[in-house]
Amino acid sequence: MRRVEVHLNRSLVVPMPNLVSDLQSLLDPQRVLHEREHLLTYGFDGTAAIGGEASCVVLPQTTEEVVSIVRYASEKGVPIVTRGSGTGLSGGSIPVPGGIVLCLVRMDRILELDARNLTLHAEAGAITQKIAEAADGAGLLYPPDPGSMKISTIGGNVAENSGGLRGLKYGITRDYVMGLEVVLADGQVVTLGNKCVKDVAGYSMKDVFIGSEGTLGIITKVLLQLVPKPAAKKALLATFARMSEAADTVSAIIAAKIIPCTLEFLDKVTIRCVEEYAKVGLPLDAEAILLMESDGHPAVVAEEAQKMEAIARECGAVTVAVAADAEESARLSTARRSAFSALARVSPTTILEDATVPRSELTKMINFIQEVGARHQLRIGTFGHMGDGNLHPTFLTDERNHAEMERVELAMKEIFDFAIKLGGTITGEHGVGLAKKKFLPGAIGDASLSLLKQLKKTMDPRGVLNPGKIFD
């Protein structure tokens, strides 16, 4: 029933006859899963309508175990797909036929929080939320907050270079990685980067692995940068009768030299779904809702909130609600937080995309998405990070309806083509994986693609690391 199954046109995937017993000799046999009932549950990640089936799953507990598995796989030419909690949204951790799934969730220790250097050192399988909590406990902040942070692993975040709601002000995962421990395709272990803020000794190789989706090496440890926790926070919620007014508000806020920590929006379809599901009293005739949040020093926060309110009104907001306290801030952000839940309930299949354009082109992009949806008779709800141009057009469909799925494909292609035309990209924070592989050449061009391929060939000459992802 799944739409896309993983097929690879390479000789490499002839299943190894002794794969399971060989691996069982390398680590505790109990941590090598091969029964059908286990394999079926590692056949997917958070991506809609894409699946595969592994030959076996291994759960290493140390870097040394990872090394032994990689050495073995490299020698025998067996593909390895590395994963954490499997919450990816581009199919990056879908198993490769005949391959090993290397699941790092048992390497989940937070090794050190260094308050003097503002760093946190953790194993790749550590849960993002636990890292955020550890930082919070020390009065610090780990800013990247991807939607799946309650269960996503930090290794997965780095491999996908995840974003989140605070991207506009704080940047993304890449901006907080100071160092990595990586197991290379030949089994060598390298440590890249350190606690120094400045370090220009050689190429910045850690950056090569950030967002590499498990195709260049296996990240086993991560050294993160933390920042002081902002003392105050304030949220505002504005509704607009026209999408362009919401976009104007965003532009005017940036032009007024305010960088809010969140600037999130919902479109009409999303507003209706949220209201139907959460009944939070949103105006159903609104074309757009904008959630704005400022954080930092209390005095600055108060001033920024005041300015943002005035700007929103000047730009034509129908209503602007300003939170009086933290509790009300939380209530105002309910609408944004419920967006995905509300959309996901509408139909059996929910395809979450993340086309991204420069901030200045947002209105054009949003209008185009609405026009495409109408033309292909599709329900598309769009919400996302208006401050950084990262949109989440969400297709509400049913993968069993083949005719509709074909229209989804067409619409998706049109949306990506248009995003590229506006100077944007096919993925802002989800990665390419399998889901966007076919759109990559158009997005980055032949020369860039060939550079990517050269790099892959140099780093992984036998092509054992997550083959067939990002590109063939």
Binding site: E37, H38, T41, P348
Partner: protein
């Protein structure tokens, strides 16, 4: 025990739980009759985003995908799609699941896990993949006999009471006779709840009226509640009366069928639902004449509310079941909706609240019990960290999966200890039995009580001018 041996035994338990979570016994597989015919969109609703993983007690313990809600759904879906037959490993997996429904609360896509879980277990039973002589006998005796015959159940309860109250139990224990039992039964012996001398029918009249009637309600007394905590039923009636409800309580009530539905006996569950509807109609007239049908047991309520779904295909009962479900209220929900009368008497104790899974996750009732507790003057309410995390009781899970159950109980007791409360309120007889056993074993003097009992006490004290 020294610290080291505690650590060793903890890691042994962890190892054993992981073994169970991984367990893939060989054995003949069967064909699916339930999952295959289940509306596929229910299975398809899962978007495998993983948001359920951190809230699932089994996944949290083993971190194996198979032991997670989305993993289990993937297996169910594979069965529905003919990619996998009903195998013994699938059976083991679905009985490793607590059925706590924390995943439903966490799910952004509104997946109906409860239905899938029941259908899956029904498939496992009809396929017989877990068949074992001892298991078969126990199931036949409890599910098909004991819990379908209200009079027999109460007679057995009476015998158990006699055994406990006569001192015979004490003698048996002091002579260490339980050692003669097989190990699996011996381990269960301390869990045996204390049966009470009087059951609900002796404590509650068929019809009780307050001075001024605000509403007319039907009262469900349950079966475990009726045997072990009949006073909670009395307290519930008192709270209803204090809030102006006329209460109609059918006699010798049947089990609501949740035990059956959760354990793969969907047909028996349907029969129990029909009997309960008829019993309430006989006692109170058409269901529409009632303002509410009230239950105080979370596990029952979560099931009772879905009689509409359970009997949807039954031409004779479908409409009546819809009315039933529409009227069904958990007691906290109902009193809250009615606008509770605040008691005036003082209860100067520190109370914390453990949320029964089937109240918070199964029925999404979380605010109301806390509000009712806070209504009691003098009572100090402290929040319990992880209050919505399963205590390991989970129906008969503490019997079928003692290791995992014990691990969850220990975690819960630890959190309770941290609150410093001397009273733990919880609204499910299963949780109460589990927590009482845990406190007994730990030698701790903490009262486990239904929130409604605290409220009833306050009203009573007030009447007595206390």
């Amino acid at each position: 025990m020294s610290e080291q041996s505690v650590l060793q035994s903890e890691s042994a338990v962890q190892h054993r739980i992981e073994e169970i979570g991984r367990s893939s016994p060989s054995g003949p597989a069967g064909a699916s009759k339930y999952l295959k015919h289940l509306d596929f969109s229910i299975l398809q609703q899962c978007i495998h985003c993983g948001m359920c993983l951190p809230t699932c007690p089994t996944y949290d313990t083993t971190r194996l995908e198979r032991n997670s809600p989305r993993g289990r759904i993937a297996l169910m879906r594979s069965i529905a799609e003919d990619k996998l037959p009903v195998t013994p490993a699938f059976g083991e997996e679905l009985y490793f699941c607590l059925g706590c429904l924390a995943c439903e609360t966490a799910c952004p896509a509104g997946v109906n896990y409860a239905t899938m879980f029941e259908e899956a277990r029904a498939d496992i039973e009809q396929a017989g993949v877990l068949a074992h002589p001892r298991r078969n006998v126990i199931r036949a005796f409890t599910l098909r006999f004991l819990f379908t015959q209200p009079l027999v159940l109460r007679a057995v309860g009476r015998l158990l009471w006699l055994y406990q109250a006569s001192g015979l139990e004490g003698i048996v224990r002091s002579w260490n006779l339980p050692r003669l039992l097989p190990a699996w039964l011996r381990d269960l012996e301390p869990l045996t709840p204390r049966v009470q001398s009087k059951f609900s029918d002796e404590l509650i009249r068929a019809k009780e009226r307050p001075v001024k009637v605000r509403a007319r309600v039907g009262m469900l007394t349950g079966c475990v509640q009726d045997l072990v905590y009949p006073h909670v039923n009395r307290d519930t009636v008192d709270v209803l009366l204090a809030n102006g409800c006329e209460v109609i309580t059918p006699r010798a009530q049947h089990c609501c069928g949740s035990l059956h539905a959760h354990n793969g006996e969907l047909e028996v569950a349907r029969e129990m639902a029909r009997r309960n509807i008829v019993a309430m109609e006989n006692a109170a007239g058409p269901l529409d004449s009632l303002d509410a049908i009230v239950t105080n047991a979370a596990g029952c309520g979560s099931h009772l509310k879905h009689y509409d779904r359970l009997l949807a295909e039954d031409p004779e009962f479908a409409t009546r079941a819809v009315t039933w479900s529409r009227k069904l209220r958990d007691i906290h929900e109902w009193i809250s909706q009615l606008g509770p009368v605040a008691p005036k008497a003082n209860e100067p104790r520190t109370v914390t609240y453990h949320e029964a899974c089937h109240l918070v996750h199964g029925q999404k009732i979380s605010r109301q019990p806390r509000e009712l507790l806070k209504l009691i003057p003098g009572l100090t309410f402290v929040e319990l960290p992880e209050s919505a995390w399963c205590c390991g009781s989970a129906g008969i899970y503490n019997i079928t999966q003692p290791e995992m159950s014990k691990k969850l109980l220990d975690r819960k007791l630890e959190k309770i200890r941290g609150t410093g409360a001397t009273v733990v309120a919880s609204a499910n007889p299963g949780c109460c039995v589990q927590l009482e056993a845990g406190m007994r074993e730990a030698g701790r003097e903490v009262e486990i009580v239904h929130p409604i009992t605290l409220l009833a006490r306050a009203y009573r004290q007030e009447r007595q001018g206390g």
